[in-house]
Amino acid sequence: MFGLSALFLARFQFAFTVGFHIVFPAFSIGLAAYLAVLEGLWLKTGRSAYLDLFKYWLKIFSVVFAMGVVSGLVMSYEFGTNWSQFSQKAGPILGPMLAYEVMTAFFLEAGFLGVMMFGLNRVGKGLHFGATCMVSIGTLISMTWILASNSWMQTPQGYIIDEATGRFLPGNWWQIIFNPSFPFRLVHMGLAAFLSVAFIVAGVAGWHLLKARREGRQASEQVRLMFSMAMWMAAIVAPVQFLAGDTQGLNTLEYQPAKIAAMEGDWDSEGRAPEILFGIPDMENETTHYKVQIPLLGSLILTHSLDGKVPGLKDYPKDLRPYSPLLFFSFRIMIALGSLMVLVGLWSLFLRWKGSLYDNAMLHRVALWMSPAGFVALLCGWITTEVGRQPFTVYGLLKTSDSVSQIALPSMATSMIAFVIVYFIVFAGGITILLRSFAQEPHPGEEGPSEHEPQMSAGTTQVSHHPHNAGLAE
């Protein structure tokens, strides 16, 4: 019981901190790409509204990025504090990938962030655009490494198990990185990040469109521009994301059928299976209660054929089944939100064609309410894939219960309470600031992040006044 509780707390703590963390890198990935597009369009067209939007979202980026860095810092040490056995066993494979992530991505982002944030008047426009692109590329490289690592834990290959120590040793790095689920997961996660930010942008724009309407004026050019851009993203990326999710589902069916069975609440493996729309899976009694189902659809969705065989949880020993009640719902919430996003995209296309994209208050209201939809779907998808990997950390090879550190329950409990308190202070502060920034309407002549901050004295002219190398000269 004692051991179980420490394990549960270790898992809960990790889930809590990753769940908090994952939102910010995803936000950074999407927002950095948006910023690069905005600055690129400004340089290409010279239209100042793009620059105003760039500066507006740059201020948001500084907060989001900082929260991503500090919460990510926790992750790079938590593997060791909470999962020391996992670290020792899988370290030779996952550690190098994380080291590459830091070297190729984190430094790139952090190194050019300063120039991107404060450097517009210090370096040339072209160089500044270069810095913005570097930050954006850094976020994408970072995502690539972290998903390679995560996918390896889901679909491990290219390793050799060392008999003496039980450690995973690298056999073939190419196979390790390009493991079977990696490409699908990468695309799915990348699109999720873009879509999440698009819906945040749409929500902020929707709010300002509604506000302008209430005040009987037209919203600023900047607001309309960002609403339009966000709706293009919804219309194009949301359907593509559905296809990407579908291919990842096929991949999961091939490599982790138990996860699929738990997601679908299916207990018996069968062909011509129905799709359960709603139900409550019951792990004890090996059944799903209150089923509402559509015949044949299950086989069609999962296998793309009417009589395809879908897996059932009873195919697996009781102690190797992922926890279906959670997966069943996290998966369905993700699908529901994804469908809504597709509908919003299609609706915007129709209104755009009718010429009333900026006048339809209903769409603006829906956009406002849907602003967190992308992030909620992303979190649900993440829960689905990670909880679906249980009871293993390295799928089929290393159990979660054999991965945990020997940390006493009091320490684990202390740290859990400390994390919750600090994260809530930080989260509350961050959200307050983000909401306050969102409440400002982007306007012509938008100022950058250094608005209320003292100025850096401009480079060389000041240096001649204050020779800061005088100490060495003497």
């Binding site: 860095v69 810092l73 504090t81 020792q88 190098p96 984190f106 430094f107 300063g114 450097g119 994390f419």
Partner: protein, 341 residues
């Protein structure tokens, strides 16, 4: 061939990891020090200037710590898997403090009411102090030794509460404050610079006392540490360190006294840190988890170490290049225009 690789790769990585940690210590050291100095400097505009000297670079500074964690994980997984559970609570407190401090950077500028500004200033200052102190405690606990059997930590969760480790915590906090104050002498001017010059005198005195105390204390912790001081040829390695400390300390006080000297105090403080760090490194060598696990016992297989080293050879120079570029873009004195005009 594989024998040679299995011997040299861990050595190369130990040097590389130590360099990365040293870079982290000095880079985040001065920006943590600025948080500690909030204790002394209460003026809002001055505080803004202090924070602005590091605003464009602190993310990069902190990245060296993430690199340290990831490198340890990939290259010395046994060390990672034993040190972190042993230091569970200090590391936890340090990380939470770094979180509070990191977001305060952004939040303190964006909060408008005096009350929330006070809160985030306090969290910036408190977070910096706790992070600095805990880093010292971690160092102290590591140097005093971590009980390990079969690659599993076998001590208690409060092993770090010893006079030596706590003293190291205080010493590192003082050292970071000195790094911060001398950094500000370089990067600021006027009244703020004068204050920092005065503060630096006191901090430099305290730091030298701390260096003497830790140096006298360390050899008594383990017989292997003592041997460095009693046996030839180890003595040849450690003996120059105290001599150099005296010389660099002299340069530091000269720089502080000469009001035309802006950069020398900071450079001299970096020198002090380098000497302390390498002194400790020589003492601990070749253990990575004193007193039982050597760098070779802690290593991941050569294939893992070689894979990361291959990338590091190309990437680290590039990283250093653009880090220097970023510092270069934001060179020069930082001022609060509206305050002085």
């Amino acid at each position: 061939m594989t024998e040679t690789a299995a011997f040299w790769l861990p050595v190369v990585w130990a040097v590389l990891a130590a360099s990365a940690i040293f870079l982290y210590v000095i880079l985040d050291g001065f920006d943590l020090g600025i948080g500690v100095l909030f204790l002394k400097e209460r003026d809002h505009d001055h505080r803004n200037v202090m924070v602005n000297t590091v605003a464009p670079v602190w993310d990069g500074n902190e990245t060296w710590m993430i690199f340290g964690g990831a490198a340890l994980y990939g290259v010395f997984p046994v060390a990672y898997g034993t040190i972190l559970p042993a230091l569970y609570l200090p590391i936890l407190f340090m990380l939470l403090a770094l979180i509070l401090r990191g977001v305060s950077f952004e939040f303190r500028f964006k909060m408008k009411s005096p009350r929330s500004q006070f809160f985030w200033d306090a969290s910036f200052c408190g977070g910096s102090i706790v992070a600095a102190f805990m880093q010292g405690v971690i160092l102290g606990t590591l140097v005093q030794g971590i009980p390990v059997q079969n690659n599993v930590f076998v001590g208690t969760s409060l092993d770090w509460v010893t006079p030596f480790a706590l003293f190291c915590g205080a010493a590192v906090t003082i050292g970071y404050a000195l790094l911060g104050s001398t950094w500000l002498i370089w990067r600021c001017e006027g009244e703020l610079q004068d204050t920092m010059r005065r503060v630096s005198y006191a901090l430099a005195g305290l730091m030298l006392l701390a260096i003497v105390a830790v140096s006298a204390w360390t050899p008594q912790l383990h017989t292997t540490y003592m041997q460095h001081w009693l046996e030839w040829p180890q003595l040849a390695l450690v003996l120059p360190v105290p001599v150099a400390v005296v010389a660099v300390a002299g340069a530091l006080f000269l720089g502080l006294r000469n009001r035309k000297s802006h950069l020398l105090p900071f450079i001299a403080t970096l020198g002090l840190f380098f000497l302390c760090f390498s002194g400790l490194g020589i003492n601990v060598w070749p253990y990575i988890v004193p007193p039982t696990i050597t760098i070779w016992q802690a290593s991941s297989p050569p294939s893992s170490q070689a894979f990361v080293l291959f990338g590091a050879m190309f990437l680290l120079p590039v990283i250093l290049g653009y880090t220097i570029y970023s510092y270069y873009v934001f060179r020069g004195k930082v001022t609060a225009e509206h305050h002085y005009h």
